[in-house]
């Protein structure tokens, strides 16, 4: 019995040291490194990387970019303190808020439009959204596309009347080629691989007009924000610079984005054309993120999305407008 008690004590000690180690590793911010989680899409971050904007803004820092397939993995990295910034769909941002990850919404990278589509197979006989009844539709769950698909189905009264399949983008291409799925809601560059024998039924710009906007956003960890508020401001400036570049020199923006992500220029052009990059002034205006006094339109749309996701039982509660307002990074101006 004595030995047994000693064994328990050793166990307790190990658990204690382990938890201490894991706590301290979270606080241990390497001040000389900025870790940014990115999506492999031709967005503003890709342009900034290709044009070396980050290096110019932070000459004495090491910038590490970590690519994630979706916001799902980016959230896990933010939670464990593996990255300081991460770009993801706004639905993943809502998940981060409800899960209590210590982050703030810093930036809207792009408003989704025709770069995210509901596409159906040409020979499937589906001519309208109503024809989707009983069909197999694939989408990456928890993504902006998933949310857009659910809203489209709800508006058509088809909730629970289709077979939804959760697949990542590569698996959607494989299943499409095999003919296992009739339709998919997904984004570029996956879309261009489906377009040969596909037909677009609707895209996210249609939903945007109806007030269901989706976007890719960048979150910043609160720990980093508290320790390096100036660096965070500089990151905003870097991203704003790419949005100005797109306005002034569209061709160069497309070229840089294509080069950085390794896709053809025509594919990059197709994808960038479908998205909207808003200016620095617009970002924190009442049309988008808003401020502490007045919530922006985009924040209101995010709150509606939160309510919808709660109704779908995908998140544990629907955050209030106040919680969303507090979620937004203040001091962008």
């Amino acid at each position: 019995m004595k030995r047994f008690i000693r064994f328990i004590l050793v166990d307790l000690l190990m658990i204690l040291t382990f938890s201490l180690v894991s706590c301290s590793s979270n606080d241990n911010l390497q001040t000389n490194e900025i870790r940014i989680g990115i999506l492999n899409t031709p967005n503003d971050v890709a342009v900034a990387r290709n044009k070396n904007y980050f290096q110019k803004a932070f000459p004495n820092k090491k910038i590490t970019f970590i690519t994630f397939d979706s916001g799902v993995d980016a959230n896990k990295a933010l939670m464990s303190g593996g990255v300081d910034f991460a770009t993801m769909g706004d639905t993943n941002g809502i998940v981060a808020l409800t899960a209590g990850i210590p982050v703030k919404l810093l930036w809207i990278n792009e408003i989704c439009g025709s770069n995210e589509c509901l596409i159906v197979r040409k020979n499937s006989g589906i001519k309208s959204i109503a024809d989707l009844k009983g069909k197999k539709i694939a989408t990456p769950f928890a993504s902006t596309s998933h949310y857009s698909l659910m809203i489209t189905l709800r508006n058509a009264g088809l909730e629970n009347k289709v077979k939804l399949l959760d697949m990542d983008t590569q698996n959607i291409v494989a299943a499409w080629k095999r003919g296992n799925i009739d339709a998919a809601y997904t984004w570029q560059p996956t879309l261009s691989q489906l377009q040969n024998n596909g037909q677009v039924l609707t895209d996210s710009s249609d939903l945007f007009k109806k007030g269901y906007s989706t976007a890719n956003i960048t979150l910043v960890s609160k720990v980093f924000l508290k320790a390096h508020p100036n660096e965070v401001r500089k990151v905003v400036q870097v991203l704003a610079k790419t949005h100005r570049l797109r306005k002034d020199n569209y061709q160069m923006t497309v070229e840089s984005a294509a080069k950085q992500t390794g896709i053809s220029q025509s594919d990059a052009a197709k994808q960038i054309k479908g998205t909207k990059w808003i200016s620095l002034n617009e970002e924190y205006s009442k049309d988008y993120l808003g401020n502490e006094q007045e919530p922006g339109q985009f924040i209101l749309a995010m709150q509606r999305a939160g309510k919808f996701m709660y109704g779908q039982q995908t998140i544990s509660y629907a955050p209030s407008l106040k919680q969303f307002q507090e979620f937004v990074y203040a001091g962008g101006n």
Binding site: S19, G100, N171, A174, R178, N180, T314
Partner: protein
Amino acid sequence: MKKRSLLITTCVWIVLLAIWFLVTNLKLVSPILFPSPQAVWSTFISILQHGYNNISFWQHLGITLFRLFSALILAILTAVPLGLASGMSELVHSLVDSLIQFYRPIPPLAYYTILILWIGIGEGSKIILLYLAAFAPIYLACVEGVKHINQDYILSAKSLGANKWFIFKWVIFPGALPDIFTGIRTAMGVSFSTLVAAEMVASTSGIGWMVIDASKYLKSSVMFLGIFILGGLGLLLDWLLQLLEKKWIFWKGKN
């Protein structure tokens, strides 16, 4: 002695549960990383009552068991005859053994994407994946089982005038049965641990899928619950197989 080890085992569980309860209720760790036992319990009750993602808990459990047992039964039906044949005949052994030895160490996830391309995203590819995981351990156990049989038994039966079929039925098969059972138990363990991987792609039901889906929304209490259910289910199934083994192979361990 047995009583004492049982006591220690129970104590370990109680102590771990108490630590879990204390650490989470004193808010020493973030609730997303480590949900409290009460949170996991209330998640369990809520999933029992309302299901998960509009599918009831029993349907999730049922589809998972269906996939597991279809694969296992298929593996037993094919691997046992092939393994026994391979153990008895040099010809069969040289025909199939190298192939099985080659695919055996490959992690199932490595060829899962190919299986999906070949067979599609339905139940077929999931069951085949689990089947392939279960096949090799049973096959190997059968080969070993036949090889371990005391040659004197076979020779004695032959000298008493038994024909080939008779020897197989009364000497080789019963002799290899303990090994076959060990093989089946190993196979169940292996395919059970492949289960989450099998339910990872293009699925919308099953306990493994529940864990994967919950991780996408960072619902850690559901993830914990799923892991507990999988662990408990694994123990239960292994215990059932042990019971069957004791009942059918009463001579195991006695010479």
